[in-house]
């Protein structure tokens, strides 16, 4: 029998970046906030202290900071004609678990999405005509413009301590920054990090070819920094243990060292860890949430937490799962294309990258940060890039990062090297220092069949149906990878490597090898209940006291990483709740 607790103003499900931002903003505004985090407590010391945090086997191979798929996972199939099977080990993507969520184990790449991203359908219709958009590609504009979101992007960059170089301040182009970026009010809070040798080579080669290289914005602090809330970040030591690890130097912008401690300092805020929300409870009208049901997974005790506002701030995948489990909105049906919740799932196609091997160059890959890099945006943010020549919508950035040189995972060898044995050992020793990678990160447009629904067969540890993912790469993705991969290959050849591998071609999606934790859509935002699950304030059209915050709201996926707009949207939503919803609850317009 569940214990019914005292009602609060806001219950937050999941305490990562979005939950942390809402927790801080709303508790500081005097609202009574309870955050329910299914994982445990985390703090830099002792959880991420060296030397134990440098355990590659524990964190990078065995995924110590991630969701346990034995307890909850999803099922997968490529198309509705295939049977779906549970993903029993994490692979393609890594949903986090524990205080700070993925904001603890991310790399830190922090973009503001492009003007094209914010107005995708309008842009393509205007520039290429309506017929350029395939009938089975339900792209749509964001319900807010880039200009509306600009102050919130800025706020997130300040909070997370983003290092970078502006390319466009109030309409004036800035040398050295991203030539194609939208106008911003001011520069990044921190200067760009020191580039690696591979990045210098890439920078010079692409500039020589007439492209526009710039330092990729990243939440790895280039020097010690105190953010506007008074949270202190240390300087990055280029240790190469960002993704899948917590940062021992507090140099990676993370919620557990910024917004969450600020919320925890408020008497109106309460955190409960090991609290797994199984359902949003609705009243008899199904138009109003009365709170959430959760289980304390440390002892099995069940609770009901009544709240005036429910904020779903779990990982993007789990936000959608909770909506479907709670019957919020109409589930999407790919066959009839009716319903909304579950549609427009997108991911991040890869495979266009190139690895270069040089007999005569040493790259020191272990001197690394998760996010620093040099990028070109000529085939993505560039609104003059002729997509007709590519034959596809979207695009890709071409980047040289240098995220790690860890001994288990980082073993670049030239094509034709045996996969094991003495020859492999010799090659891996020789090329460890002498390889660099040029990456291609592509956008992903929605397709009517790429969607989530509830699995009819498989259940999680609570006996609830697993989320079912139906997904594959499609023609549009293959064309983007082929086209931009070719450009990456030309850049690589201009550097005269001894040998190079790639670019590959994009085949069927494989859920086994790691690609990226950039899962978007499923509870998308839009201008009307007919095209979206949530409105421009990420408020459910169907149950207006439920807010669904995160990358689940993106109608498509950009070639950019998602966390910049995820943070910006969380501040945007918090502002709308504080300044409008709180005074006059109900659907905001």
């Amino acid at each position: 029998m569940a214990t019914r607790l005292r009602e609060v103003d806001v219950v937050i499900v999941g305490l990562g970046w979005t939950g942390g931002i809402l927790a801080k903003e709303l508790s500081e505004a005097g609202m009574r906030v309870v955050a329910l985090e299914r994982g445990g407590m985390r703090s830099t010391n002792p959880d991420f202290a060296i030397p134990l945090i440098r355990d590659e086997l524990k964190y990078a191979v065995r995924n110590a900071l991630m969701q346990n798929p034995a307890r909850d996972t999803l099922t997968f199939r490529h198309s509705p004609s295939e049977p779906s099977l549970p993903m029993r080990q994490l692979g393609s993507f890594l949903p986090g678990e524990g205080l700070g969520g993925a904001g603890v184990h991310w790399n830190g790449v922090t973009w503001r999405w492009t003007g094209i991203d914010h107005a995708a359908r309008s842009y393509y219709e205007q520039r290429h005509g309506k017929s350029f958009i395939p009938a089975d590609m339900p792209i749509q504009d964001w319900p807010m413009t880039y200009a509306e979101l600009e102050p919130y992007y800025d706020k997130f960059e300040r909070t997370a301590g983003v290092s970078g170089k502006a390319g466009n301040i109030r309409g004036t182009k800035q040398p050295g920054g991203n030539f194609f970026e939208q106008s911003r009010d001011r520069d990044y809070p921190l200067p760009a990090l020191e580039p690696s040798y591979s990045q210098v080579l890439f920078n010079d080669a692409t500039a020589h070819m007439g492209y526009h290289p710039f330092p990729r914005p990243c939440a790895n602090a280039s020097r010690a920094y105190t953010n506007p809330d008074g949270s202190r970040l240390g300087a990055c030591v280029y240790c190469g243990h960002c993704e899948r690890f917590g940062c021992e130097a507090n140099a990676k912008g993370s919620p557990h060292i910024t917004v969450i401690p600020k919320a925890m300092a408020q008497p109106t805020f309460e955190l409960r860890t090991h609290s797994w929300v199984t359902k949003v409870m609705l009243d008899s009208t199904k138009k109003k949430a009365i709170g959430v049901a959760y289980t304390d997974v440390s002892n099995g005790q069940e609770y009901e937490q009544p709240a005036a506002i429910v904020a779903l701030c779990a990982y993007a995948i789990n936000n959608v799962h909770l909506m479907l489990l709670s019957s919020i909105g109409t589930p999407y049906d790919a066959t009839t294309q009716k319903g909304i919740v579950g549609k427009n799932y997108c991911y991040q196609p890869g495979g266009g990258g190139v690895t270069l091997f040089f007999e005569d160059k040493i790259f020191n890959p272990f001197m690394a940060t998760g996010a620093f890099g040099i990028a070109i945006d000529d085939f993505h943010a560039n609104d003059q890039f002729d997509r007709a020549a590519m034959g596809a919508l979207g695009g890709a950035t071409i980047n040289v990062g240098q995220s790690n040189g860890r001994p288990i995972g980082y073993r670049p060898v030239p094509a034709g090297t045996p996969r094991w044995g003495a020859e492999w050992k010799k090659a891996t020793a020789k090329w460890y220092l002498r390889a660099m990678n040029i990456g291609v990160t592509a956008s992903n447009m929605p397709n009517r069949y790429n969607a989530y629904d509830l699995d009819p067969t498989y259940k999680n540890v609570f006996g609830q149906p697993l989320l079912r993912l139906t997904y594959n790469f499609l023609e549009n993705d293959k064309k983007v990878i082929a086209y931009v991969g070719q450009k990456a290959s030309e850049i690589a050849r201009s550097l005269n490597p001894t040998s190079m591998t790639g670019p590959g071609t994009l085949g069927d999606y494989n859920i086994v090898p790691y690609q990226s934790t950039h899962n978007t859509g499923g509870a998308i935002m839009g201008s009307s209940p007919g095209n979206s699950a949530v409105n421009k304030y990420l408020q459910s059209w169907d149950v207006p006291n439920v807010f669904v915050v995160g990358a689940s709201a993106f109608p498509h996926n950009s070639a950019y990483n998602p966390t910049g707009p995820v943070g910006a949207l969380a501040y945007w939503t918090a502002d709308a709740i504080k300044k409008r919803y709180r005074q006059r609850p109900g659907l905001m317009t």
Binding site: S43, P51, R223, N250
Partner: protein, 135 residues
Amino acid sequence: MMRGVVDGWWFVVGSCAMLVATTTSHVRGADVEKGKALFEQCAACHSLDATGDYDGPTLKGVIGRKAGSLEDYRYSAAMKRSDVVWDAATVDKYVADPQAFIPGNRMAFAGISDKTQREDLIAFLAVATKDTNSK
């Protein structure tokens, strides 16, 4: 006791600075203001006044203290075992290359290789970390 050690250390720093001044051709005293700016690199983890929630131990009263000896801070075994007492010379060695001086310690800092910068930082620490309560 504490006062004597702190003041004694301060005196040693002063002597060092004078020694440098009299034995080298380029006359330079340690610059406390520059040291204060350099301390920003430390401030993410270390407080000077033992207030607030920091990941590193407070530096209040650090000079003259045995390394790894604050009761309310969880040090690495390496730090506790180190047998180091913090003075100008040991702070200098530690800040120059933390892992070389006390291998296996948990301070997430790469070090300051510039000798002059270390002198400035140490001059600042000598003033700013004084434990006035124990006087």
